[in-house]
């Protein structure tokens, strides 16, 4: 996480030396990398671990206040499983937000995904009344594909016509929701018993797995996203575009092409989240995940993502999602009414952005 944030500062610095050749630029980057590492002081470490500190703090608070069942192993499993959907979608959102964009259609895309999955599953009903294996895989891929197409369209329109993603994704939010209701015939789509339904179980089937499939998939995706952002050229371009789009363009980055990829990959994660959502609901639900995009964006922001772009980390976003899940679960354990939970979560979102601002002032 630390070095991901480092990169960002390098790219900002490198934008001032844009006249150099890419080779020379890379050398300068490496040099600056070294220097900025040395320059790290305690304050910066603290501010970068802010989300983690927040999580530890919230957990400790509930350990003190809530009944002992809060830190039972079963409840830890519950919290982790409840983080899966928002967490996976937040990984995709992280990439989008780092690039200076936003995606308001994620919730609708997830709903569309569940409906597509359920519809494909229903095509493959065997005589025994269960979905056949091939169709289960096809359904999962179909859900991901449906979302990816949404993302591709968003990226294409945003890049080619230079529209703000806020408006384009606001439109897609309605379109994807409408298409989902259309495919589902304005009903929830019932599905036969199948393997996908077991992904989000609290007690996984082979019990040696300890956590359900969903939790493991989230961890794997977290690692992949962190690697993508840190070690791949694409990841560096995402940071560059988010830091300063014009400069990135002048540096020779194909911003349009990258934007299409950014939104497509972001929606790919929404597609995977929709599989988890389907697994949880066991039906295709065109009204699912209404407003979930706000939770997802909040997770990224709490985790250190900046809506002005150029900042954010995969780990931070997952921690952001965890903080919200812990808060909901803990408040539930305490019997705190819903409105108090909403007030607290709202306060934390604003607080996180406030801390982010202070962090900049320290720099």
């Amino acid at each position: 996480m630390v070095s991901i944030l480092n990169q960002k500062s390098i790219i900002i610095v490198s934008s001032s030396v844009e006249s150099k050749t890419p080779k020379a630029e890379a050398d300068t980057q490496a040099h600056l990398h070294e220097r900025s590492r040395q320059g790290m002081n305690l304050k910066k470490v603290l501010s970068q671990f802010g989300p983690l500190i927040g999580l530890v703090f919230v957990v400790l608070l509930f350990i003190i206040l809530a009944p002992s069942s809060f830190y039972s192993f079963y409840n830890i499993k519950t919290i982790l499983t409840q983080t899966v959907i928002v967490g996976i979608a937040a990984l995709g959102m992280t990439i989008i937000i780092i690039s200076g964009g936003i995606d308001l259609s994620t919730g609708s895309q997830i709903a569309l995904g569940t409906v597509v999955i359920a519809t494909i599953l229903n095509m493959g009903i065997t005589e025994a009344g269960a979905a056949s294996g091939g169709y289960v895989v096809l359904a999962a891929l179909g859900g991901i594909l449906a979302c990816a197409v949404c993302g591709w369209i968003i990226g294409l329109i945003t890049a080619r016509f230079n529209l703000t993603p806020f408006i384009v994704t606001l439109g897609m939010m309605q379109i994807a929701r409408g298409v989902a209701k259309w495919i589902a015939n304005e009903q929830t789509v019932a599905t036969p018993v199948n393997g996908l339904q077991g992904l989000m179980l609290l007690d996984p089937n082979p019990s040696w797995m300890v956590f359900g499939w969903g939790v493991w998939i989230t961890i794997i995706l977290l690692i992949l996203t962190a690697i993508l952002l840190k070690y791949f050229v694409f990841g560096r371009h995402v940071f560059a575009i988010g830091s300063n789009e014009e400069t990135a363009r002048l540096c020779g980055i194909n911003v349009s092409k990258n934007k299409i990829w950014i939104y497509t990959i972001g929606s790919l994660f929404a597609g995977i989240a929709s599989i988890m959502q389907y697994s949880n609901l066991t039906v295709g639900d065109p009204t699912a995940a209404m407003g979930m995009e706000l939770d997802i964006i909040a997770a990224v922001v709490i985790g250190g993502g900046s809506l002005t772009g150029g900042e954010g980390s995969a780990m931070g976003s997952i921690i952001g999602a965890l903080i919200m899940a812990v808060l909901r679960n803990g408040c539930n354990m305490l019997g705190v009414p819903n409105y108090v939970q909403e007030i607290i979560i709202g306060a934390i979102i604003v607080g996180a952005v406030l801390i982010d601002r202070l962090k900049h002032r320290i720099k």
């Binding site: 608070l61 179980l201 066991t282 934390i348």
Partner: protein
């Protein structure tokens, strides 16, 4: 350094909030904990269930924990609330499921941990729960159709504004209405495929659109409180109350006033107070291994301006909520 003051603020907030609730829940140590989970918390209907549950809790000496999904009508959130209560290890759960299939896995995990579940209001597509306490919704739809036919003189154009996709209880009401209205050859259903949506705001918009599209309509049926409220408001803003006959479902203060003013011609009224009361009572019997009923119908009454003053009806539409909910 500011970080510390912020965290301090949050901790104060949380501390404050649990102080305020711990007084509400009572000390509760040792006594039985029963979770009551509604579909939402803002409708008057759920307040009545809460009051009924509170009454049962007081009589039986148990603690109830009242918690709905954080986002109203969000299946995912309700699943999480059930999971959290299972995690917390309550003694029993009374649940009004938002979806007849999606809530099966969390209820299954409750059953796996030996927590008995009683289902109220809407059915669950499974037989793992102990008891089902609800209104016969189909019958309610049938009553509404009969009442609408009666006020229309068995002829005219009617609209049915549906509630929301996938809600089992309202779907049955809609089915009961549609099946019965067919028996009247001179009544034509001009629209029955529009949905009001979960909130009154959305219902209001859908209603306005419908009224603009079908200006010649004579009667309307709405299958729940928010849809009825939205439609009533749309009729009021269009100045068509009274001309277009409206039959609604469930009650609220606004709807009852409209009923006595003649803006609504009938309200099919359930008995949510009884539902909440019997829900807690039944789960209590299950926990104590006492005999209980597997299925209970709490009944529907057609309330009109004429019978509103009858004592039984008055008691039904105006249960003493505040007596039991001393918040």
């Amino acid at each position: 350094m500011k970080l510390h003051s912020l965290t301090l603020l949050f901790s104060l907030l949380i501390l404050f909030s649990c102080n305020s609730t711990s007084t509400q829940e009572g000390d509760g140590s040792g006594s039985m904990q029963i979770a009551v989970i509604p579909k939402g918390t803002t409708h008057v209907f759920w307040r009545s269930i809460h009051a009924g549950a509170a009454k049962a809790a007081q009589e039986l000496g148990v603690n109830i924990i009242w918690q709905g999904p954080q986002k109203e009508d969000d299946r995912q959130m309700q699943i999480q609330v059930v999971q959290n209560f299972v995690s917390r290890g309550v003694d029993g759960i009374v649940l009004a499921p938002l979806d007849d299939r999606s809530l099966v896995p969390p209820v299954q995990s409750a059953v796996n941990r030996n927590i008995p579940v009683v289902i109220i209001d809407s059915d669950l597509n499974s037989d793992i729960y102990k008891s089902f306490i609800a209104t016969d919704n189909y019958e309610g739809g049938k009553l509404s159709a009969q009442r609408l036919a009666e006020v229309l003189g068995s002829k005219g154009k009617v609209i049915m504004l549906r509630y929301a996709e996938g809600s089992a209880s309202t779907t049955k009401r809609e089915q009961g209405f549609m099946d019965t209205i067919k028996e009247y050859p001179d009544i034509e259903v001009v629209s029955s495929n529009q949905y009001a949506g979960a909130t009154m705001e959305k219902a209001f918009q859908a209603s306005q659109n419908l009224l603009n599209r079908f200006p010649q309509v004579n009667g309307i049926f709405c299958p729940n409180e928010s849809a009825t409220s939205g439609m009533l408001r749309a009729l009021q803003t269009a100045g068509k109350t009274g001309q277009i006959k409206l039959i609604g479902f469930d009650t609220s203060e606004t709807l009852l006033q409209a009923l006595s003013k003649g803006e609504i011609q009938g309200l099919a009224v359930q008995d949510p107070f009884q539902m909440g009361y019997l829900g807690v009572q039944t789960v209590y019997h299950v926990i104590n291994n006492e005999p209980f009923e597997k299925q209970i119908d709490t009944g529907v009454t057609m309330v009109t301006a004429e019978n509103l003053s009858e004592p039984a009806v008055a008691q039904l539409v105006n249960p003493e909520l505040d007596k039991w909910l001393d918040e």
